[in-house]
């Protein structure tokens, strides 16, 4: 049971950002956040192990190159017969080659694993989103949807390349080097272990702190910069004529000063991180010397072993070098994973329409207050057509945006008008079943549209939202989005119906021209979307602002034509602000006003429609 606070936003905040409290820092929290999403990458252990093995081989070759070279040189200085050096000489060169080759193979293996994971995660995400609840999708702006399924998925994939594999390699090679040194001198090995631990823990932790500080600062200054930029670019005329340009530039300067102060604060731990890394390498060499030199004097260590003990650490630190970047990547990926998880949780939630309806009580309207209004839906007003009783629309977790409505539409047309912000789009989404009703009930051909999936929905209702997507494919394929078997001739007829015949004939490849932002204007895009809606097999068409971006007269004609469709075999609901055209509708719902204009009598004969405020309506 969620409590709607007074003053809660009408529209829920975009699902882009996780709540601040959820962003807990720390590697462990990040890993926990990543785990469920990483599982969706479907990475095979063997593939990861191969990448880590190849990476370890690369750095092991590097360490071995150092060690063998050190041994070779000191041994040579003892002037043995050359044949004693041959094996080492060959070894040095082999390790040199091995290092280069295995590095190449490791990079390929890591990227291949990550890319396979990304493809898998994206598919799973797509499938779960297309099977889950629609509320979250309907509220998500296209940019946010793209960010989740595009950039965020890539970010999760990057954790394999930049964090998991390097971390695995650094553990293998770091411990391997320590074991190698321990064969000659345990105290030296302990010194190396301590220094490696510093670079593996302290250095990334400091870098991570700098990273999160910088991010906090950047979020703040970015908003300021965006405001100043917007002013200087979009309001340049106003600023020039009104003399406001110096003020706007001063605001930009202030934003820059803020950014500068923030970066200064954030750079401090970063500088310490980098300096600590340098100190750790130096300390390990120095420590090795301090421990090993007396050991040589006491005969516990040979001269060649001394060289190995002192020079190997220099190479071993290559293993921990990518760890600060790995920590940063882990943080970034975990944030992406949290956003993906939040989206999935919102769409996967098992809540059914009834549960959602009960969870929000709009002001003055108890959702259960009109059970008698639901009964006729179940019994007397049977299909076909669109029927609603006491329908209250709203976003989950938000306030109700419409007063209770009764609708009956069977083969007729209904226009929805009203000022912006009065819930026109919300009503349409509810009729389409993309949103669950906050109160009351809606039936399309006797079925609750909110439970409809895929072909079932396509058979009953088709919604064309205001920001419906025009795909980057041909005109024909864009129409076929609504129904796969639209013939070319039929497509041309549909385009003709929306006044696009001349446009499509002027295109270089006609119906087969690929539509992109350059080939299609705002008005043409709208009309193409209407043509697509008309291609749908659904007997109920819902259209949101189909005439936006069209010249007034054209828009009115188009809305009129669409409403006239309702006279034929179809039912049409059109949301529009072209008030003059709605006289063509069989019924009109005016939202934001207590009394709907042009409401017809209740009781639906075929070809007639009615809309009325429900008896339970609270006067606004």
């Amino acid at each position: 049971m969620s409590v709607v606070e007074p003053g809660a936003q009408l529209l829920p905040e975009p699902a882009g950002l996780p709540p601040a409290a959820a962003v807990t820092t720390g590697v462990r929290a990040d890993l926990r956040a990543l785990r469920p999403v990483l599982a969706m990458l479907g990475l095979r252990r063997a593939v990861l192990a191969r990448a880590v093995a190849l990476g370890s081989l690369t750095l092991a070759a590097s360490v071995a190159l150092s060690g063998t070279a050190a041994w070779l040189i000191v041994r040579a200085a003892q002037m043995p017969p050359v044949m004693y050096l041959n094996v080492a000489a060959v070894g040095v060169r082999t390790f040199g080659i091995l290092r280069g080759v295995s590095r190449y193979l490791e990079r390929l293996a890591t990227h291949d694993a990550a890319l396979a994971g990304v493809a898998e995660l994206r598919t799973q995400l797509y499938e779960r989103l297309s099977a889950g609840r629609t509320e979250e999708l309907a509220r998500l702006r296209r940019g946010d949807l793209l960010a989740r399924t595009g950039a965020d998925v890539d970010d999760v994939g990057d954790v394999v390349i930049r964090a998991l594999v390097p971390a695995g390699v650094s553990v293998v090679v770091g411990l391997g080097s320590v074991v190698l040194i321990a064969c000659f001198s345990v105290p030296s090995a302990l010194v190396l272990l301590a220094c490696l631990a510093v670079t593996a823990v302290v250095v990334p932790a400091l870098a991570g702190r700098a990273d999160s500080r910088a991010e906090t600062v950047r979020v703040a200054s970015r908003a300021e910069v965006a405001t100043a930029t917007e002013a200087l670019v979009s309001r340049a005329a106003e600023l020039a004529v009104g003399g406001g340009r110096p003020d706007a530039l001063a605001a930009l300067e202030a934003a820059h000063t803020q950014a500068r102060d923030g970066e200064r604060l954030a750079a401090r731990p970063l500088a310490w991180s980098a300096a600590t890394a340098v100190l750790a390498v130096g300390a390990s060499v120095l420590g090795a010397l301090l421990v090993a030199v007396p050991a040589v004097g006491s005969g516990a260590l040979t001269a060649t072993e001394l060289a190995v003990v002192v020079l190997v650490p220099l190479a071993a630190f290559e293993a921990t070098a990518p760890l600060p970047a790995a920590a940063a990547q882990l943080r970034r990926s975990a944030q992406a994973a949290r956003r993906i998880s939040a989206l999935l949780a919102a769409t996967d939630s098992a809540a059914r329409p009834g549960v959602v309806r009960d969870s929000v009580a709009p002001d003055g309207v108890a959702p259960d207050a009109a059970p008698e209004a639901l009964d006729p839906l179940a019994t007397t007003l049977q299909p076909p057509g669109l029927h609603a009783r006491g329908l209250v629309c709203g976003w989950p977790g938000g306030e109700a945006c419409t007063a209770p409505l009764d609708l009956d539409l069977t083969g007729g047309s209904l226009a929805v008008v009203g000022p912006s912000g009065t819930g026109k789009t919300t009503l349409l989404l509810t009729l389409a079943g993309m949103l669950a009703p906050v109160g009351g009930a809606v039936r399309v051909d006797g079925v609750d549209p909110h439970g409809m999936r895929g072909p079932e929905r396509a058979a009953h209702v088709a919604l064309t939202a205001e920001d419906a997507h025009v795909f980057g494919t041909s005109v024909l394929e864009n129409i076929r989005v609504a129904r796969g078997d639209v013939a070319r001739e039929e497509a041309l007829e549909l385009l003709d119906a929306v006044g696009l015949r001349a446009w499509v004939e002027a295109l270089p490849d006609g119906l087969d021209t690929v539509v992109g932002p350059e080939t299609i204007s705002g008005g043409e895009r709208r009309r193409l979307l209407v043509a697509r809606a008309l291609a749908s097999p659904a007997p109920l068409l819902l259209l949101d602002e189909p005439a936006e971006h069209l010249p007034d007269d054209v828009a009115q004609a188009l809305v009129r034509d669409l409403l006239a469709l309702g006279r034929h075999e179809r039912s049409v609901v059109v949301v529009t602000h072209h008030v003059a055209a709605v006289e063509a509708a069989d019924a009109v719902v005016t939202l934001g006003h207590a009394v709907p204009a042009g409401a017809a009598a209740t009781g639906a004969a075929p070809g007639a429609a009615s809309a009325a405020p429900a008896p339970a309506a609270s006067e606004a």
Binding site: L72, L115, S130, A237
Partner: protein, 560 residues
């Protein structure tokens, strides 16, 4: 793409300072690296050969401590300076970019404004890794690598020659790999971009597909596209990683060669152990910056592209400004005005004639895209005409508006945009617009009475003290669109503007509100200002004294 664009150094002073500082730090870092190698070599050699104790190698050990501490300090400084420089360079470029953009012709801004906004906000942020990572690494490569090589050559000619011989092979091989695979890579990258955008297109359409009940099925396509994308990426990477593989291979092989060659000469006593060890430690250091500079370059290409775009904007010439003061005028004669709609190959407006007179309301009418707003911008000297003239007339004396200093012209003009954005303050302070004194007060009262703002204010609970929203996009709190326009017109009156240009002030208004704004426009004209209003609505057009039809030269079907 040049790794270090001299224009960047010229444009951003912070970049110059940082390059100098980073170069100095690189020299010092080189000294540290050399001292460290010497210290280790001279600490290990006597112990290995003669088994001396710690006291005997105290000097090289002390030197080692010094070198390590100094190197850590240098790193610390470099990080601090880099972070600061990055913010400063971005800030300086952004300021230049936005200041320049705000002075460019209106039409250029309409066309490229969104691009500039993206560039100024997100695009330039990509420059940070360039400044903090690539630039210092580039300098380190340019300084440490040759200096250390010189030291090695001086210490041991043979090893030095081995390094000197292999070092140039790295760029040569990388270049060869690059050239031979370029065509292939380009094709791959194109395919990759196409597949990537197809995939994103499909994902972006998910909501639409669900709304049509057509979401079942494309999941398979997402998988197929994802797999195809992976295959293409791997094909690209197999080649792309080759050049860095060459680098790695040559670097480690050279170090191996140096080690073997030193070893062989040690056997014959042609080199001493301390020198041999020093050279062995120095050899990988020579390659180290080279290995990293490539990776850093990869991370900074976006930033470099952004910089090039900034320069492209800065290269746009600013419109010429006049020098003369505004003469007395009672007619602004527009003849043959034309502005190219540069992206579409026609003129909008085309060949426009009009006479703007104080005391009259002139409406600019015409289809959308005909150039009404552009005409308004030309009147305000914010859009230089491509053809035609704007002439101020008074008693037969004619002054070309182009010869008048724009700041002087703006001082007696006012622009009322369609969407008014307020920047804080109160209704009163906004209406006064910086004017003060009893004289201004009197003007405010008079103006507010004329435009009807006085009635609006009377209905506000806080009256003149009603606060206005300060953030971008925030409309004045509690005021409707029509009321906000009356506030703007009052402000223009208080300023004593002689030319008041309003952009569709009555669009989206209820008929009653429209009449009130029209009345306010009339009041401004009656006060002696030339009022120009871009208008669509019949009610507004009917109220104007003169209606000027603005037409473009576009073919009819394009204009529709």
């Amino acid at each position: 793409m040049r790794p270090l664009d001299p224009r960047l150094l010229r444009t951003a002073a912070a970049a110059r300072t940082f390059v100098v500082a980073a170069a100095a730090l690189s020299v010092l870092a080189t000294v540290c690296v050399v001292v460290q190698a010497f210290a280790i070599g001279h600490a290990v050699a006597p112990v290995a050969l003669d088994g001396v104790d710690l006291a005997a190698v105290a000097t090289p050990l002390a030197a080692l401590v010094g070198a390590v501490v100094l190197r850590a300090a240098l790193t610390w400084f470099r990080e601090r300076l880099g972070a600061q420089a990055a913010v400063d360079v971005v800030a300086q470029l952004r300021t230049r970019l936005l200041e320049h953009t705000s002075r460019l012709p209106h039409r250029w801004r309409t066309r490229h404004g969104a691009e500039v906004t993206t560039l100024a906000t997100r695009g330039l942020d990509d420059l940070v890794p360039y400044v903090t990572g690539y630039l210092p690494q580039l300098l380190l490569t340019a300084i440490l690598t040759p200096l250390t090589l010189l030291v090695v050559l001086r210490l041991d000619l043979v090893s030095g020659l081995v390094v000197a011989a292999t070092l140039p092979l790295i760029p040569v091989f990388m270049w060869l790999v690059g050239v031979t695979t370029q065509r292939w890579s380009e094709q791959r990258l194109e395919a990759l971009a196409a597949q990537g955008s197809q995939l994103l297109d499909l994902l972006a359409g998910l909501t639409t597909l669900r709304a049509l009940g057509r979401e079942v099925g494309p999941g398979v396509r997402v998988r197929r596209l994802g797999e195809a994308y992976r295959t293409t990426t791997m094909q690209t990477l197999r080649v792309a990683f080759l050049s860095s593989a060459v680098l790695e291979l040559l670097a480690s092989l050279s170090v191996a060669l140096v080690a073997v060659e030193i070893g062989m000469r040690l056997v014959y006593d042609r080199i001493d152990l301390a020198t041999g060890l020093t050279v062995l430690i120095l050899a990988p250091e020579i390659y180290q910056p080279l290995r990293q500079v490539g990776a850093q370059f990869h991370a900074s290409t976006n930033g470099l592209t952004a910089v090039q775009r900034v320069f492209a904007v800065l290269d746009e010439p600013l419109p010429a400004d006049g020098e003369r003061a505004v003469p007395a005028w009672d007619r602004l004669v527009v003849s043959g005005l034309a502005v190219a709609a540069d992206d579409r190959g026609y003129l909008a407006p085309a060949d426009l004639d009009a006479v703007i007179e104080p005391g009259r309301v002139t409406a600019l009418a015409g289809a959308s895209g005909a150039g009404k707003t552009t005409t308004a911008m030309a009147l305000l000297r914010l859009q230089p005409p491509d053809a035609g003239t704007l002439v101020l007339e008074h008693d037969g004396e004619r002054t070309d508006l182009a010869d008048v200093a724009s700041a002087a012209w703006w001082a007696q003009a006012a622009w009322v945009p369609q969407r008014v954005v307020t920047s804080g303050g109160t209704v009163r302070s906004h209406a006064l617009g910086g004017a003060s004194g009893p004289d201004a007060e009197a003007r405010l009262v008079q103006a507010a009475e004329a435009t009807g703002l006085a009635h609006v204010v009377a209905d506000l609970p806080l009256g003149w003290a009603t606060p206005l929203a300060a953030e971008a996009g925030g409309l004045s709190s509690g005021l409707s669109v029509g009321q906000t326009h009356r506030l703007e017109l009052t402000r223009a009156l208080v300023r004593g503007a002689r030319l008041v240009v309003a952009d569709e002030p009555t669009a989206h208004l209820a008929p009653g509100d429209e009449q009130e704004v029209v009345a306010a426009l009339r009041a401004v004209a009656d006060a002696g200002a030339a009022v120009v209003v871009v208008a669509h609505r019949p009610g507004t057009l009917a109220a104007a004294d003169v209606v000027v039809q603005v037409r473009s030269s576009a073919p009819a079907e394009v204009a529709a």
